[in-house]
């Protein structure tokens, strides 16, 4: 594949990076990434992936844009209120870069459909908003050996980790079980500063880009912890757990299940 002149112009500021070059740009254009959630994390992440020229970006979300989303979900505009988030996302991302294919999925992922969706992608960004989806996405990525770029946010706190199934710890190695419903509040209940979503979503995008390019060190086996009030970043070690129920030596999770019992919060609308 040869870069066109307009592509060389468009991507010139990253092509001049010795770590990237024309070869790196081709890797990006040939890559495919699925972003789950077009919300606070998915917005900045998808914007940077599309801008950088990641060739195919799938966006999964079943919600419509609401006015209270605009404080942090920077994919969407006032005119999009009431529209499906995936449609709004597709317009915005295509408006930045018509070089990339945007595939909207106006659905909620579940144990029945997720494997079929992620099979067409090299990696998955988790920008979902609830524990059942996060454990489902983790299990699906481990079972189908897809790289997973995880981010979580609440109030002034953020976390990010990159999961390379079989090679580095998965989300269940980090937190073996989801908390019971109501124990950890959602963003809807506890709040979120928009910039925190921007920082963590951008870290997820950065991890995706490094992973596609094969440069630098990933947050694999390491949890990045951000606090906005003291502007601190810390990292802790996350070893692979031999007793992990999904990627350990004797896995008990060998097919997907829905964690509906943890879903009670979702019923009143999302976090």
């Amino acid at each position: 594949m040869e870069l066109r002149e307009d592509q060389i112009e468009r991507y010139s500021r990253q092509i001049i990076l010795p770590e990237l070059g024309g070869e790196g740009q081709e890797k990006l254009l040939n890559a495919s990434i699925l972003v789950i959630g077009a919300g606070g994390l998915g917005s900045p992440c998808a914007l940077y992936l599309a801008s950088a020229g990641v060739g195919k970006i799938g966006i999964v979300d079943s919600d419509r844009v609401e006015l209270n989303n605009l404080q942090r979900q920077i994919l969407h505009s006032i005119k999009d209120v009431g529209r499906a988030k995936v449609e709004s996302a597709k317009d915005r991302l295509s408006g930045i870069n018509d070089d990339v294919e945007i595939v909207p999925y106006n659905i909620r992922v579940n144990s029945e459909n997720i494997l079929d969706i992620i099979k067409d992608y090299d990696g998955v960004v988790d920008g979902s908003d609830n524990f059942p989806t996060r454990y489902l996405v983790n299990d699906a990525c481990v079972l189908s050996r897809k790289q997973l770029f995880h981010g979580g946010i609440l109030r002034f706190d953020g976390q990010a980790i990159t999961i390379l199934p079989g090679t580095s710890a998965c989300y269940r190695c980090l937190f073996p079980e989801p908390p019971p419903p109501g124990v950890i509040p959602s963003c809807q209940e506890a709040g979120i500063l928009g910039a925190v979503a921007g920082i963590i979503g951008t870290i997820q995008a950065n991890e995706v880009l490094k992973c596609i390019l094969g440069i630098g060190d990933l947050l694999a086996g390491k949890l990045l912890i951000f606090n906005a009030l003291d502007s601190s970043f810390r990292q802790v070690k996350v070893p692979q757990d031999p007793k992990c129920p999904v990627c350990g030596e004797n896995p008990t999770v060998t097919k997907l299940i829905d964690y509906e019992e943890f879903c009670s919060l979702r019923k009143n609308k999302e976090g």
Binding site: G37, Q73, D129, G152, I153, L154, F175, P185, A190
Partner: protein, 93 residues
Amino acid sequence: MQATLKVPTPLQKLTKNQAEVKVSGANIRELIEDLEKRFPGIKERICDETGKIRRFINIYVNEEDVRFLQQEETPLKDGDEISIIPAIAGGGH
């Protein structure tokens, strides 16, 4: 033994809004008992009824998860930095 504990935001209500507190104890179990004495109610947020650390909360001594050391019996030394990190699921939806 005196160490520093980083308190996660959701527990700071119990620590009188302090993000960092000095703690003492020869190991994690003693540290949690010491915390509970000073900040009643904090233990049940961290541990289940049997005294085990909850499965969606991790405690780190410096950069190491105590689950991969000696769990509640993990020894502490002067100057250690202890962090309590709960799982968070928000995606800013």
